[in-house]
């Protein structure tokens, strides 16, 4: 699609090997830029948490920040699962922090430093897919472990008339099986869409400046637009992390409490 001399908005999502690895079962295993940025996200989360876990008697600013995030995730779980949800806090908190930091790191204007090519980890369907599959497996394992075969009653709402049960069962089963896809797809597409939008308008800026003359106005308008879209994207980053954590805890609630 992209002709020579134009900016290809999809190029930023390409996974490129940084260190050549080894071959395993016919697949080339490399250390890619995706893996590198995942490690960066991990390091940032580590720094953020360690800065606030000194257990000071009078909490400083940093500790208040960390306590705020922990309390926020705790609150999501308490309202959607209830007291039984305490044991799922580590997973939901991991999800929330990883997605939030990965999204925000992808939005940072690190590209202005030469040689650094920022990569949004959550813009890969494999990454978000794995996160969604782990959440979905927790639901399945907990559901079948706790309720055995009674877990299937999740697909038949209370008070369904007898003749309707087979139909309702199939519909509910379908909507249940689609959950991991919708969970992964939402995050992945939201990230991709925002980044493409910004890149396309960045393309307009460069082309307008190249054209010269009155088209400089287009460049100025595009830059203003990019600023607003970036602000919106920062909001979307936080909302997507919140929605992922919220939906995961709601799905776990289905397994834990079985309506």
């Amino acid at each position: 699609m992209a002709e020579k001399g134009k900016i290809d908005p999809m190029h930023q999502f390409e996974v490129q090997p940084i260190i050549e690895g080894f071959e395993l079962f016919g697949q080339q295993i490399n250390f890619t830029n995706s893996a590198l940025w995942m490690f960066v996200v991990l390091g940032l989360i580590y720094l953020f948490m360690m800065g606030g876990m000194k257990r000071e008697l009078v909490p400083g600013r940093w500790q208040i920040m960390v306590e705020g995030v922990v309390g926020f995730v705790d609150n999501i779980i308490a309202t959607s699962i209830g007291p039984a949800g305490k044991k799922y806090t580590p997973w939901v908190f991991t999800l929330f922090m990883f997605i939030l930091f990965a999204n925000l790191l992808g939005m940072m204007p690190l590209g202005i430093i030469p040689g650094i090519h920022p990569f949004t980890v959550t813009s890969q369907f494999t990454v978000t897919g794995i996160l969604a599959i782990i959440s979905f497996s927790i639901v399945l394992i907990v559901g079948f472990w706790k309720h055995k075969l009674k877990f299937f009653s999740l697909f038949v709402p209370h008070g369904t008339p007898l003749p309707m049960i087979p139909l309702i069962f199939m519909v509910e089963l379908l909507s249940f099986m689609v959950r991991p896809f919708s969970l992964a797809l939402r995050l992945f597409v939201a990230m991709i869409a925002g980044h493409i939008l910004i890149k396309v308008f960045a393309n307009f800026v460069i082309q307008a400046i190249d054209a010269g003359g009155a088209s400089i106005l287009v460049a100025i308008l595009s830059i203003i637009f990019i600023a607003f879209v970036s602000a919106l994207e920062l909001l979307v980053c936080a909302i997507q992390a919140y929605v992922f954590a919220l939906l995961t805890s709601l799905y776990i609630n289905d397994a834990e409490n079985l309506h």
Binding site: M1, S80, L185, R186, V189, A190, I192, I239, V243, L246
Partner: protein
């Protein structure tokens, strides 16, 4: 019509769904605000449901976007 222009037109048609989802998301937040202003004390407790509704409405728009991107960047069929 050659294939590549049909591809671009198809992607544009698929993008209509994104606009429809915009209506949906606006409806979710608009209705929430309408209810929240009538009973502000109950609004905070419903924020979780607000974002579930938002997520459901947004997902369909994002799927339309994904379809548009798949059509646009699909390798031209031989």
């Amino acid at each position: 019509m050659d294939l590549s222009s049909a591809q671009v037109i198809g992607a544009g048609l698929a993008a209509i769904g994104v606009g429809a989802a915009a209506t949906g998301v606006g409806n979710v937040f608009g209705s929430f605000l309408e209810g929240a202003l009538r009973n502000p004390s109950a609004a905070d407790g419903q924020q979780g449901r607000l974002f579930i509704g938002f997520a459901a409405a947004e997902l369909l728009g994002l799927i339309a976007f994904a379809v548009a991107m798949i059509i646009l960047y699909a390798p031209p069929a031989a």
